[in-house]
Protein backbone atom coordinates (compact mmCIF):
# COMPACT_ATOMS: atom_id res chain seq x y z
CA UNK A 1 0.00 0.00 0.00
CA UNK A 2 1.38 3.40 -0.96
CA UNK A 3 2.03 6.06 1.62
CA UNK A 4 -0.87 8.17 0.46
CA UNK A 5 -3.44 5.41 0.54
CA UNK A 6 -2.28 5.02 4.10
CA UNK A 7 -2.80 8.74 4.58
CA UNK A 8 -6.45 8.44 3.55
CA UNK A 9 -6.84 5.46 5.85
CA UNK A 10 -5.11 7.15 8.77
CA UNK A 11 -7.44 10.08 8.49
CA UNK A 12 -10.44 7.84 8.05
CA UNK A 13 -9.38 5.76 11.00
CA UNK A 14 -9.56 8.80 13.26
CA UNK A 15 -7.13 10.02 15.85
CA UNK A 16 -6.30 13.17 13.91
CA UNK A 17 -7.34 16.29 15.73
CA UNK A 18 -6.84 18.61 12.78
CA UNK A 19 -10.36 19.41 11.68
CA UNK A 20 -11.63 19.39 8.11
CA UNK A 21 -11.90 22.96 6.87
CA UNK A 22 -15.25 24.09 5.55
CA UNK A 23 -14.59 26.86 3.03
CA UNK A 24 -17.25 29.06 1.44
CA UNK A 25 -16.13 30.52 -1.87
CA UNK A 26 -17.08 33.98 -3.06
CA UNK A 27 -16.83 34.79 -6.76
CA UNK A 28 -16.31 38.51 -7.21
CA UNK A 29 -16.66 40.56 -10.35
CA UNK A 30 -15.66 44.21 -10.38
CA UNK A 31 -15.56 44.18 -6.58
CA UNK A 32 -19.03 42.67 -6.08
CA UNK A 33 -20.04 39.14 -5.17
CA UNK A 34 -21.71 37.42 -8.12
CA UNK A 35 -24.25 34.58 -8.02
CA UNK A 36 -27.35 35.59 -6.12
CA UNK A 37 -26.77 35.19 -2.42
CA UNK A 38 -29.87 34.47 -0.37
CA UNK A 39 -28.98 35.55 3.11
CA UNK A 40 -31.24 36.64 5.88
CA UNK A 41 -30.44 39.87 7.67
CA UNK A 42 -27.79 41.06 5.31
CA UNK A 43 -28.15 44.62 4.13
CA UNK A 44 -26.11 44.11 1.02
CA UNK A 45 -25.58 40.49 -0.03
CA UNK A 46 -23.34 41.57 -2.90
CA UNK A 47 -20.85 43.23 -0.57
CA UNK A 48 -17.86 40.91 -0.07
CA UNK A 49 -17.02 42.42 3.33
CA UNK A 50 -20.47 41.89 4.82
CA UNK A 51 -20.72 38.41 3.38
CA UNK A 52 -17.25 37.42 4.63
CA UNK A 53 -18.07 38.54 8.16
CA UNK A 54 -21.37 36.68 8.03
CA UNK A 55 -19.58 33.47 7.05
CA UNK A 56 -16.95 33.95 9.76
CA UNK A 57 -19.72 34.37 12.30
CA UNK A 58 -21.37 31.15 11.09
CA UNK A 59 -18.13 29.26 11.71
CA UNK A 60 -16.40 29.16 8.33
CA UNK A 61 -12.81 27.95 8.70
CA UNK A 62 -11.40 29.93 5.80
CA UNK A 63 -12.70 31.97 2.89
CA UNK A 64 -11.75 31.89 -0.74
CA UNK A 65 -12.35 34.94 -2.88
CA UNK A 66 -11.99 34.34 -6.60
CA UNK A 67 -11.92 37.27 -8.98
CA UNK A 68 -13.96 36.40 -12.06
CA UNK A 69 -13.83 39.86 -13.62
CA UNK A 70 -13.69 39.73 -17.38
CA UNK A 71 -11.37 42.69 -17.79
CA UNK A 72 -8.13 43.94 -16.21
CA UNK A 73 -10.03 47.08 -15.18
CA UNK A 74 -12.50 44.91 -13.30
CA UNK A 75 -9.66 43.09 -11.61
CA UNK A 76 -8.41 46.39 -10.31
CA UNK A 77 -11.08 46.14 -7.65
CA UNK A 78 -9.71 42.93 -6.19
CA UNK A 79 -6.93 44.50 -4.16
CA UNK A 80 -9.41 46.95 -2.63
CA UNK A 81 -11.80 44.09 -1.88
CA UNK A 82 -9.06 42.07 -0.19
CA UNK A 83 -7.97 45.08 1.88
CA UNK A 84 -11.51 45.78 3.02
CA UNK A 85 -12.21 42.13 3.88
CA UNK A 86 -8.87 41.71 5.70
CA UNK A 87 -9.58 44.68 7.93
CA UNK A 88 -12.46 42.83 9.53
CA UNK A 89 -11.88 39.12 8.86
CA UNK A 90 -10.27 37.06 11.66
CA UNK A 91 -9.88 33.81 9.73
CA UNK A 92 -7.61 32.84 6.81
CA UNK A 93 -8.26 34.33 3.40
CA UNK A 94 -7.26 32.72 0.12
CA UNK A 95 -7.41 34.75 -3.09
CA UNK A 96 -7.17 33.81 -6.71
CA UNK A 97 -8.43 34.50 -10.18
CA UNK A 98 -6.33 36.33 -12.72
CA UNK A 99 -3.01 35.81 -10.97
CA UNK A 100 -0.63 35.99 -13.94
CA UNK A 101 2.69 37.03 -12.50
CA UNK A 102 4.58 36.94 -9.23
CA UNK A 103 3.73 40.61 -8.71
CA UNK A 104 0.00 39.82 -8.82
CA UNK A 105 0.46 37.32 -5.98
CA UNK A 106 2.60 39.80 -4.08
CA UNK A 107 -0.07 42.52 -4.36
CA UNK A 108 -2.75 40.19 -3.02
CA UNK A 109 -0.58 39.12 -0.08
CA UNK A 110 0.28 42.73 0.73
CA UNK A 111 -3.42 43.56 0.66
CA UNK A 112 -4.10 40.87 3.25
CA UNK A 113 -4.50 37.51 1.53
CA UNK A 114 -2.90 34.65 3.48
CA UNK A 115 -2.66 32.32 0.50
CA UNK A 116 -2.80 32.88 -3.25
CA UNK A 117 -4.08 30.41 -5.81
CA UNK A 118 -2.80 30.27 -9.33
CA UNK A 119 -4.37 28.32 -12.20
CA UNK A 120 -3.98 29.06 -15.94
CA UNK A 121 -0.79 31.06 -15.47
CA UNK A 122 0.91 28.07 -13.87
CA UNK A 123 -0.07 25.80 -16.75
CA UNK A 124 1.46 28.29 -19.19
CA UNK A 125 4.51 28.89 -17.02
CA UNK A 126 4.94 26.29 -14.24
CA UNK A 127 7.94 28.22 -12.89
CA UNK A 128 5.55 30.64 -11.23
CA UNK A 129 4.89 27.89 -8.66
CA UNK A 130 8.61 27.61 -7.84
CA UNK A 131 8.90 31.39 -7.62
CA UNK A 132 5.88 31.80 -5.37
CA UNK A 133 6.99 28.99 -3.07
CA UNK A 134 10.50 30.43 -2.82
CA UNK A 135 9.37 33.98 -2.24
CA UNK A 136 6.32 33.50 -0.02
CA UNK A 137 6.62 29.93 1.23
CA UNK A 138 4.82 26.74 0.20
CA UNK A 139 1.99 27.33 2.65
CA UNK A 140 1.05 30.49 0.69
CA UNK A 141 1.19 28.79 -2.69
CA UNK A 142 -1.95 27.07 -3.91
CA UNK A 143 -2.46 25.48 -7.30
CA UNK A 144 -6.05 25.46 -8.53
CA UNK A 145 -6.62 22.57 -10.90
CA UNK A 146 -9.82 22.38 -12.94
CA UNK A 147 -10.25 18.94 -14.44
CA UNK A 148 -12.72 16.69 -16.23
CA UNK A 149 -12.76 13.02 -17.21
CA UNK A 150 -11.47 12.24 -20.69
CA UNK A 151 -12.21 8.78 -22.02
CA UNK A 152 -9.45 8.82 -24.64
CA UNK A 153 -6.90 9.83 -22.05
CA UNK A 154 -8.32 7.29 -19.57
CA UNK A 155 -7.85 9.94 -16.91
CA UNK A 156 -8.80 13.47 -15.86
CA UNK A 157 -7.58 16.22 -18.15
CA UNK A 158 -6.61 19.72 -17.09
CA UNK A 159 -8.92 22.52 -18.16
CA UNK A 160 -7.78 26.14 -18.37
CA UNK A 161 -8.95 29.61 -19.32
CA UNK A 162 -12.12 29.27 -17.27
CA UNK A 163 -13.17 26.13 -19.07
CA UNK A 164 -12.64 27.23 -22.66
CA UNK A 165 -9.57 25.10 -23.24
CA UNK A 166 -8.83 21.44 -22.51
CA UNK A 167 -5.28 20.16 -22.44
CA UNK A 168 -3.91 16.67 -23.06
CA UNK A 169 -2.38 16.87 -19.60
CA UNK A 170 -3.37 14.55 -16.79
CA UNK A 171 -4.50 16.22 -13.59
CA UNK A 172 -2.61 13.56 -11.62
CA UNK A 173 0.67 14.39 -13.38
CA UNK A 174 0.08 18.10 -12.94
CA UNK A 175 -0.64 17.77 -9.22
CA UNK A 176 2.50 15.70 -8.68
CA UNK A 177 4.61 18.18 -10.64
CA UNK A 178 3.18 21.11 -8.67
CA UNK A 179 4.07 19.44 -5.39
CA UNK A 180 7.63 18.91 -6.59
CA UNK A 181 7.82 22.58 -7.52
CA UNK A 182 6.90 23.61 -3.98
CA UNK A 183 3.14 24.03 -4.13
CA UNK A 184 1.65 23.74 -0.64
CA UNK A 185 -1.95 22.86 -1.42
CA UNK A 186 -4.17 21.78 -4.31
CA UNK A 187 -7.63 23.23 -4.92
CA UNK A 188 -9.20 20.57 -7.11
CA UNK A 189 -12.40 21.39 -8.99
CA UNK A 190 -14.35 18.85 -10.99
CA UNK A 191 -15.85 20.32 -14.16
CA UNK A 192 -18.01 17.23 -14.50
CA UNK A 193 -19.60 17.88 -11.12
CA UNK A 194 -19.46 21.65 -10.73
CA UNK A 195 -22.98 23.04 -10.50
CA UNK A 196 -24.60 19.56 -10.62
CA UNK A 197 -25.10 19.20 -6.86
CA UNK A 198 -24.43 15.49 -7.28
CA UNK A 199 -21.46 15.29 -4.91
CA UNK A 200 -17.71 15.68 -5.32
CA UNK A 201 -15.91 13.54 -7.91
CA UNK A 202 -14.63 10.97 -5.42
CA UNK A 203 -12.72 8.95 -8.00
CA UNK A 204 -10.77 12.00 -9.07
CA UNK A 205 -10.08 13.03 -5.46
CA UNK A 206 -8.87 9.50 -4.70
CA UNK A 207 -6.57 9.57 -7.73
CA UNK A 208 -5.02 12.89 -6.72
CA UNK A 209 -4.76 11.82 -3.06
CA UNK A 210 -2.74 8.84 -4.21
CA UNK A 211 -0.08 11.02 -5.84
CA UNK A 212 0.39 14.02 -3.50
CA UNK A 213 1.06 14.43 0.22
CA UNK A 214 0.11 18.12 0.39
CA UNK A 215 -3.40 19.16 1.45
CA UNK A 216 -6.26 18.88 -1.03
CA UNK A 217 -9.34 21.11 -1.10
CA UNK A 218 -12.27 19.38 -2.81
CA UNK A 219 -14.48 21.53 -5.00
CA UNK A 220 -17.39 21.09 -7.38
CA UNK A 221 -20.70 19.35 -6.77
CA UNK A 222 -21.35 19.58 -3.03
CA UNK A 223 -24.97 19.65 -1.98
CA UNK A 224 -25.05 18.02 1.45
CA UNK A 225 -23.05 17.16 4.56
CA UNK A 226 -22.96 13.56 3.32
CA UNK A 227 -21.16 14.69 0.15
CA UNK A 228 -18.57 16.35 2.33
CA UNK A 229 -18.18 13.29 4.54
CA UNK A 230 -17.65 11.19 1.40
CA UNK A 231 -14.82 13.51 0.36
CA UNK A 232 -13.27 13.43 3.85
CA UNK A 233 -13.33 9.63 3.71
CA UNK A 234 -11.16 9.60 0.58
CA UNK A 235 -8.61 11.76 2.38
CA UNK A 236 -9.22 15.41 1.48
CA UNK A 237 -8.24 18.10 3.99
CA UNK A 238 -10.84 20.72 3.18
CA UNK A 239 -14.11 21.09 1.31
CA UNK A 240 -15.15 24.13 -0.66
CA UNK A 241 -18.74 24.97 -1.41
CA UNK A 242 -20.56 27.96 -2.81
CA UNK A 243 -24.20 27.57 -3.74
CA UNK A 244 -25.14 25.35 -0.78
CA UNK A 245 -24.26 28.33 1.44
CA UNK A 246 -25.13 31.22 -0.87
CA UNK A 247 -28.59 29.82 -1.61
CA UNK A 248 -29.29 29.54 2.09
CA UNK A 249 -29.75 25.74 2.06
CA UNK A 250 -27.32 25.45 4.94
CA UNK A 251 -25.57 27.82 7.29
CA UNK A 252 -21.98 26.80 7.94
CA UNK A 253 -22.69 25.91 11.57
CA UNK A 254 -25.69 23.75 10.74
CA UNK A 255 -23.71 21.96 8.07
CA UNK A 256 -20.88 21.38 10.54
CA UNK A 257 -23.23 19.99 13.16
CA UNK A 258 -24.64 17.48 10.67
CA UNK A 259 -21.17 16.64 9.43
CA UNK A 260 -20.10 15.90 13.01
CA UNK A 261 -23.11 13.62 13.45
CA UNK A 262 -21.90 11.74 10.38
CA UNK A 263 -18.51 11.28 12.06
CA UNK A 264 -16.61 14.22 10.55
CA UNK A 265 -14.08 16.17 12.63
CA UNK A 266 -15.04 19.83 12.50
CA UNK A 267 -14.41 22.96 14.54
CA UNK A 268 -17.60 23.88 16.35
Amino acid sequence: MGRNSFKALARFGGGLMLTTRIIPCLDCRDGRVVKGVQFQNLRDAGNPVELSKAYEKQGADELIILDVSATPEGRGHQVDTVKAVRKRLRIPLTCGGGVRRLEDASRLLDAGADKVSVNTAAVINPLIIDEMAKQFGSQCTILAIDAAWNNDLGSWEVIVRSGTERLPKKATDWAREAQERGCGEILLTSWDRDGTRSGYDLKMLTAIRAVVGIPIIASGGANSPQHMKDAIDVGVDAVLAASIFHDGDYTVDRLKKELRELGGEVRL
Partner: protein, 202 residues
Protein backbone atom coordinates in the same frame (compact mmCIF):
# COMPACT_ATOMS: atom_id res chain seq x y z
CA UNK B 1 -4.70 52.38 31.88
CA UNK B 2 -2.62 53.43 28.90
CA UNK B 3 -3.12 51.84 25.49
CA UNK B 4 -0.39 49.28 24.73
CA UNK B 5 1.91 49.97 21.79
CA UNK B 6 2.90 47.05 19.58
CA UNK B 7 6.04 46.93 17.42
CA UNK B 8 5.94 44.38 14.61
CA UNK B 9 9.38 43.37 13.33
CA UNK B 10 9.73 43.00 9.57
CA UNK B 11 11.47 39.63 9.37
CA UNK B 12 11.95 39.53 5.62
CA UNK B 13 9.52 39.06 2.81
CA UNK B 14 6.83 37.90 5.19
CA UNK B 15 3.36 39.17 4.62
CA UNK B 16 2.50 41.35 7.59
CA UNK B 17 -0.98 42.46 6.54
CA UNK B 18 -2.93 39.94 8.63
CA UNK B 19 -0.86 40.57 11.75
CA UNK B 20 -1.18 44.35 11.41
CA UNK B 21 -4.93 44.05 10.78
CA UNK B 22 -5.35 42.03 13.97
CA UNK B 23 -3.77 44.75 16.14
CA UNK B 24 -5.65 47.46 14.25
CA UNK B 25 -8.90 45.68 15.19
CA UNK B 26 -7.87 45.75 18.86
CA UNK B 27 -7.54 49.55 18.75
CA UNK B 28 -4.01 49.49 20.10
CA UNK B 29 -1.14 51.52 18.69
CA UNK B 30 1.17 49.60 16.35
CA UNK B 31 3.93 50.09 13.83
CA UNK B 32 6.26 47.98 11.71
CA UNK B 33 9.87 48.22 12.84
CA UNK B 34 13.12 47.29 11.14
CA UNK B 35 16.12 48.18 13.32
CA UNK B 36 17.99 47.05 16.41
CA UNK B 37 17.16 49.83 18.88
CA UNK B 38 13.45 49.35 18.38
CA UNK B 39 13.72 45.65 19.19
CA UNK B 40 15.03 46.43 22.65
CA UNK B 41 13.02 49.56 23.36
CA UNK B 42 9.54 48.53 22.27
CA UNK B 43 6.94 47.69 24.92
CA UNK B 44 5.31 44.80 23.06
CA UNK B 45 7.44 43.18 20.37
CA UNK B 46 5.92 40.88 17.72
CA UNK B 47 8.12 38.57 15.71
CA UNK B 48 6.06 37.23 12.82
CA UNK B 49 7.47 35.12 10.06
CA UNK B 50 6.54 33.28 6.95
CA UNK B 51 9.06 31.66 4.67
CA UNK B 52 12.02 29.39 5.32
CA UNK B 53 14.11 29.10 8.49
CA UNK B 54 17.50 29.47 6.82
CA UNK B 55 16.59 32.43 4.61
CA UNK B 56 14.94 34.24 7.50
CA UNK B 57 17.92 33.74 9.86
CA UNK B 58 20.26 34.89 7.10
CA UNK B 59 18.18 38.05 6.69
CA UNK B 60 18.28 38.72 10.44
CA UNK B 61 22.06 38.22 10.52
CA UNK B 62 22.60 40.60 7.60
CA UNK B 63 20.61 43.25 9.40
CA UNK B 64 22.47 42.59 12.68
CA UNK B 65 19.24 41.72 14.47
CA UNK B 66 20.27 38.36 15.93
CA UNK B 67 21.92 39.65 19.12
CA UNK B 68 19.20 42.18 19.95
CA UNK B 69 16.57 39.47 19.51
CA UNK B 70 18.49 37.11 21.81
CA UNK B 71 18.77 39.91 24.32
CA UNK B 72 15.04 40.68 24.05
CA UNK B 73 14.26 37.06 24.89
CA UNK B 74 16.70 36.97 27.81
CA UNK B 75 15.59 40.20 29.49
CA UNK B 76 12.05 38.85 29.53
CA UNK B 77 10.21 41.88 28.12
CA UNK B 78 6.83 41.23 26.45
CA UNK B 79 7.25 39.39 23.19
CA UNK B 80 4.99 37.45 20.84
CA UNK B 81 6.49 35.28 18.18
CA UNK B 82 4.38 33.57 15.54
CA UNK B 83 4.81 30.50 13.31
CA UNK B 84 8.27 30.72 11.71
CA UNK B 85 8.97 33.44 14.27
CA UNK B 86 8.54 30.72 16.88
CA UNK B 87 10.80 28.23 15.13
CA UNK B 88 13.58 30.85 14.84
CA UNK B 89 13.79 30.73 18.64
CA UNK B 90 15.11 27.17 18.40
CA UNK B 91 18.71 26.05 18.04
CA UNK B 92 18.24 24.62 14.56
CA UNK B 93 15.60 23.30 12.19
CA UNK B 94 15.37 20.25 9.98
CA UNK B 95 14.13 22.67 7.34
CA UNK B 96 17.55 24.28 6.92
CA UNK B 97 20.35 22.02 8.15
CA UNK B 98 23.43 24.03 9.06
CA UNK B 99 21.56 27.24 9.86
CA UNK B 100 21.80 28.37 13.45
CA UNK B 101 18.65 29.67 15.11
CA UNK B 102 18.39 32.19 17.94
CA UNK B 103 18.85 29.29 20.35
CA UNK B 104 16.76 30.76 23.14
CA UNK B 105 14.59 27.65 23.29
CA UNK B 106 16.38 24.37 23.84
CA UNK B 107 15.23 21.77 21.39
CA UNK B 108 15.29 21.26 17.66
CA UNK B 109 12.54 22.09 15.16
CA UNK B 110 11.53 18.92 13.36
CA UNK B 111 9.48 18.06 10.29
CA UNK B 112 5.91 16.86 10.84
CA UNK B 113 5.42 13.18 9.98
CA UNK B 114 3.91 12.48 6.59
CA UNK B 115 1.23 10.25 8.08
CA UNK B 116 -1.04 13.21 7.38
CA UNK B 117 -0.85 16.00 4.83
CA UNK B 118 2.22 18.21 5.09
CA UNK B 119 2.11 21.17 5.39
CA UNK B 120 -0.46 21.00 8.15
CA UNK B 121 -3.00 23.63 7.06
CA UNK B 122 -6.06 24.12 9.19
CA UNK B 123 -7.57 24.27 12.66
CA UNK B 124 -6.12 21.95 15.26
CA UNK B 125 -6.85 21.64 18.94
CA UNK B 126 -4.52 23.39 21.38
CA UNK B 127 -4.12 21.68 24.76
CA UNK B 128 -3.13 24.13 27.48
CA UNK B 129 -2.12 23.59 31.10
CA UNK B 130 -3.29 25.30 34.31
CA UNK B 131 0.06 27.16 34.45
CA UNK B 132 -0.73 29.24 31.41
CA UNK B 133 -1.38 32.95 31.82
CA UNK B 134 -2.53 33.50 28.24
CA UNK B 135 -3.15 30.22 26.44
CA UNK B 136 -6.41 28.31 26.84
CA UNK B 137 -7.75 25.13 25.20
CA UNK B 138 -9.34 25.76 21.84
CA UNK B 139 -8.98 25.51 18.08
CA UNK B 140 -6.22 27.51 16.41
CA UNK B 141 -5.24 27.92 12.77
CA UNK B 142 -1.92 26.34 11.78
CA UNK B 143 0.04 26.48 8.52
CA UNK B 144 3.33 24.66 9.08
CA UNK B 145 5.52 21.78 8.00
CA UNK B 146 7.85 22.00 11.03
CA UNK B 147 7.38 22.36 14.78
CA UNK B 148 9.12 21.87 18.12
CA UNK B 149 8.72 18.37 19.49
CA UNK B 150 6.96 18.44 22.87
CA UNK B 151 10.17 17.97 24.83
CA UNK B 152 10.97 21.66 25.32
CA UNK B 153 12.01 22.59 28.86
CA UNK B 154 12.02 25.93 30.63
CA UNK B 155 8.75 27.11 29.12
CA UNK B 156 5.11 26.33 29.88
CA UNK B 157 4.16 24.31 26.84
CA UNK B 158 0.78 23.83 25.14
CA UNK B 159 0.58 21.02 22.61
CA UNK B 160 -1.14 19.87 19.43
CA UNK B 161 -1.40 16.38 18.01
CA UNK B 162 -0.36 15.53 14.47
CA UNK B 163 0.56 11.88 14.58
CA UNK B 164 2.73 12.83 17.55
CA UNK B 165 2.81 15.54 20.16
CA UNK B 166 4.22 18.94 19.16
CA UNK B 167 4.42 22.38 20.71
CA UNK B 168 1.43 24.53 19.77
CA UNK B 169 2.62 27.44 21.89
CA UNK B 170 4.71 28.19 24.95
CA UNK B 171 4.96 30.99 27.43
CA UNK B 172 7.37 32.26 30.05
CA UNK B 173 6.44 35.43 31.91
CA UNK B 174 5.17 37.98 29.38
CA UNK B 175 6.72 36.09 26.44
CA UNK B 176 4.38 34.05 24.28
CA UNK B 177 5.44 32.05 21.28
CA UNK B 178 2.90 30.39 19.00
CA UNK B 179 3.21 27.85 16.24
CA UNK B 180 -0.33 28.72 15.13
CA UNK B 181 -1.52 32.09 13.86
CA UNK B 182 -3.46 33.92 16.58
CA UNK B 183 -4.24 36.67 14.06
CA UNK B 184 -6.14 34.12 11.93
CA UNK B 185 -7.67 32.08 14.73
CA UNK B 186 -11.02 33.84 14.95
CA UNK B 187 -12.38 35.00 18.27
CA UNK B 188 -10.21 32.52 20.21
CA UNK B 189 -7.06 34.01 18.69
CA UNK B 190 -8.21 37.56 19.23
CA UNK B 191 -8.89 36.84 22.89
CA UNK B 192 -5.39 35.38 23.24
CA UNK B 193 -3.89 38.59 21.84
CA UNK B 194 -6.00 40.64 24.24
CA UNK B 195 -4.79 38.61 27.22
CA UNK B 196 -1.18 39.04 26.13
CA UNK B 197 -1.70 42.80 25.86
CA UNK B 198 -3.45 42.95 29.22
CA UNK B 199 -6.64 44.24 27.68
CA UNK B 200 -8.79 42.99 30.48
CA UNK B 201 -10.07 39.57 29.54
CA UNK B 202 -10.07 36.53 31.79
Amino acid sequence: MSVPFVSILRTGLANLASVCAAFERLNVGWKVIEVEEEILDSDYLVLPGVGSFGACMEGLEKRALVSPLRERFSVGKPLLSICLGMQLAGQESEESPGSEGLGVVAGPVIRLPDTYSVPQIGWNKVISSPNHRYIRDGYAYFANSYAFGATVVGWDVATFDYGGEYVAAMERGPQLICQFHPELSGEWGETLLKRWLGLGVA
